[in-house]
Symmetry: C2
Subunit: 268 residues, 2 copies
Amino acid sequence: MTASVAVDGVLGGLLPPDDRGLLYGDGLFETIRCVHGVAPLWARHCERLRQGCQRLALPVPDLDQVQRQLITLCEELPDAVARVTWTRGSGPRGYAPPADVRGRLIVSVAARAADPAPATDGVAVRMCDTRLSSQPRLAGLKHLNRLEQVLARAEWNSPEWGEGLMCDDEGHVVCATAANLFIVRDGALFTPPVDRCGVAGVARAEVLATQPVALRRLTLHDVASADEVFLTSSVRGILPVRQCAGRTWRPGPVTRSLQAQWRAIGLP
Amino acid sequence: MTASVAVDGVLGGLLPPDDRGLLYGDGLFETIRCVHGVAPLWARHCERLRQGCQRLALPVPDLDQVQRQLITLCEELPDAVARVTWTRGSGPRGYAPPADVRGRLIVSVAARAADPAPATDGVAVRMCDTRLSSQPRLAGLKHLNRLEQVLARAEWNSPEWGEGLMCDDEGHVVCATAANLFIVRDGALFTPPVDRCGVAGVARAEVLATQPVALRRLTLHDVASADEVFLTSSVRGILPVRQCAGRTWRPGPVTRSLQAQWRAIGLP
């Protein structure tokens, strides 16, 4: 795997151990697919990063500069996954955010291993025991506090499972460990709101912007009785679910149509 | 402020940007007071770190080596605050913990600024709007996902307030942003359990081990109607609360007695 990284613009840079991203998870990130140096969903990543900065009272990074770094690191890769991490930077000991914040930018890039099988055949999805706690002040954000996802993802290591669904503390199904969830019933699209927990995925935002979708809390029964189920991820795209909650599906027409739309914006 | 740091034993070391502590907050920390190179509560810090490693399925660091690094960094400081951070180390992209984990150890030390006033006169404590979300799988641990504490601590910047109390999602008072809470009523000690949220502080453990204390969920009314209220912190010690929830107190006999015990174990 080719991988390269820049810390505050310095290629191969390292991080000071007083960075608040490490100390407290005090920051945000974006995981961005880049095809031949182009990130088709770049504007949506910028939008989420801006909103995240506002909600965490972080300064907004220079997004043109971020984009230039991304392009420089990605341009020789036909298909890459970039991660942009933006932290509250260094500061004195203690939770209190420093008065004078100078954020720290980390951009890393790795070649994406092509694996068309999940998109073609769909993935088998399990249910995670680890639940998402309810925290409206952080819900929707792609922040650096991701231990719940780490614990949930650690519940399995068989490649048999392509993802795991996570429930909130009331038992509603919210999302997968690293993807959002959609179901189709009678031709209508539904996805859970992410106002109490979960991440407002960029691929989810793309679907919401181009299709009529109802935001609705979903039970496991809603998932199991759906006509189609799919996951969305900025890296993995539109992933049909072929098995979940004792049910199996073949990729359906709504999922296939969204996959075609995904390819049309430049994400093969 | 004198400060020094070692990353995996290398003095002045820096951190690779693929450390999972930064990527996901995937790790633990301890904040340890060291007086003339001695950490009186070292055994309790080790115990919590061990438990945290077990619950997060992290390897346990070589605690003798950690102690040697601490002593080396602290020995010339009469009063120091050390932070030991232990992460799941570097790994490939994705939440799945690597199969072969090699943890990363960061030990940093800074001189402690002496301020006897809070211990003598007590601190004024406010109520934070940011609530603690309920997550039994992480409750009690001093892990690296601390955005709730950052948001709560960012609610004030006046030195008038020495701490802020945080409630759980049911409105029970659980702890301060960086300290645990005790109340005294009719000579009996009470502290909230930390089984759903909050950190099981090392200073709290010291009090629990040496006094009869009832674990009980506390309302704000319980706090306001208590005979004495105090906070515990491994760095700040036993801190009397002199003002909270519209009430004022003078440091009481139970608080004073615990402060004397604190000094007796070598924490001035």
